[in-house]
């Protein structure tokens, strides 16, 4: 008898609808309005790569040890360096990082002995061409500058 009454008065459906209804209250809205509202990115986030420079003199921290390139499963980092005859140290000449193949696993970052290479919180990595996804030393040092659109 009770089940029939429940059936007739659509109790099961109304119950579900009530759940839907009470979630519509504005304080329950959790959607992020992305371009207007920037998401909070965790500190450890592995996003766009950056090659750190010494803030005092603008010199790169990278010691051209090539460890990151060898740690990378995709072998997408190329470190170009030259031996400086005066200081007997290696000078970094080029550094390319192909983000189109990168899986942001963080192994390169872990391998770097001087924390020169870092995966940062920037996540807007889209580019118009495949070539645009290959970062050279300049982009890596200055960081990506996504075009800002005004809505």
């Amino acid at each position: 008898m009770r089940t029939i009454l429940r059936k007739v008065f659509l109790v099961d459906l109304l119950q579900g609808m009530w759940v839907t209804f009470r979630t519509q209250h504005p304080k329950n809205i959790v959607t992020e309005q992305y371009p207007f509202e920037r998401p909070k990115i965790a500190e450890r986030y592995r996003g766009a790569p950056r090659l750190n420079v010494n803030p005092e003199n603008g010199q790169t921290l990278c010691i051209s040890c090539d460890l990151c390139a060898l740690a990378c499963p995709e072998a997408l980092i190329v470190v170009g360096w030259e031996r400086n005859p005066e200081t007997k140290r290696k000078d970094l000449i080029t550094f390319t990082f192909d983000t189109s193949r990168c899986m942001f696993c963080g192994l390169c970052e872990d391998a770097c002995p001087v924390d020169a290479l870092e995966l940062t919180q920037d996540f807007e990595l889209a580019s118009y061409s495949r070539e645009g996804a290959i970062f050279d030393r300049q982009i890596l040092e200055e960081g990506i500058q996504p075009k800002k659109y005004v809505f």
Partner: protein, 226 residues
């Protein structure tokens, strides 16, 4: 599908996935001490499919002493599989012809009623180049064992589908990847790769970059998948 993880070649020097190429740029001599200092990296830079060092070093397995091993030797007499264990995981080495009767017997008499997996390993230097491995589990005994058979090129082991229907796709996958055909299998076709594909990718002679050039050109209309 390309054997290679990268979708298409990027027009840069590093598009070649081999790390040797990646070191090419402005690197003048001096590379030797650097490489020597970093064993992990040096090892990583090895070309694909490293040859097994020397004669295949052997696995330090020991004889497996258990009720099951004894029971099997009593039941099969001279044909009994060799019972070994490594890292606490027992495995049997059986004769290729007796594999299905053995699986059947393990199911009937010892309750190994769940076929977990079938896979293979290719050892090109060996006279019998393939290991086919069956993993079995018994719910009532809560025990897992592996059975291994060594087969020669061209040998067709009998299919296990009549004992465990789950062997169907697993055997097809072994065929797809290694080219080991299973006798009397109801549907011995490729499963993951396209039917017309020609190579067997998990054989050691096929490097990671190897693909069926003809198939790619005919079906995808591109010169190469890399």
């Amino acid at each position: 599908m390309p054997d290679d993880p990268k979708p298409e070649g990027t027009p840069s020097p590093e598009s070649a996935p081999s790390p040797e190429a990646a070191q090419a740029p402005v690197t003048p001599p001096v590379a030797a001490p650097v490489a020597a200092a970093k064993p992990p990296a040096a090892a990583a830079a090895k070309p694909p499919a490293p040859a097994a060092p020397k004669a295949p070093a052997v696995m330090a397995s020991t004889a497996w002493e258990s009720d099951l091993a004894e029971a099997l030797s009593a039941e099969f007499g001279g044909d009994a599989p060799e019972c070994l264990t490594y890292l606490g995981q027992p495995f049997l080495v059986a004769k290729p012809e007796s594999i299905v009767p053995l699986i059947q017997h393990l199911q009937d008499a010892h309750d190994f009623d769940y076929l977990v997996d079938i896979t293979a390993v290719h050892w090109p230097e060996r006279a019998e180049p393939f290991d086919v491995i069956y993993v079995l589990y018994s719910f009532s005994r809560n025990e897992r064992i592996r059975i291994k058979i060594r087969i020669a090129e061209g040998f067709k082991p009998l299919t296990a589908t009549m004992v465990h229907p789950s062997a169907d796709w697993l055997e097809r996958e072994v065929y797809d990847m290694f080219g080991i055909e299973f006798d009397e299998h109801p549907n011995m076709r490729r499963i993951l790769l396209p039917d017309e594909w020609e190579t067997f990718p998990l054989r050691k002679e096929n490097s990671i970059l190897k693909m069926d050039q003809r198939w790619v050109q005919e079906n995808l209309g591109i010169e190469s998948g890399q």
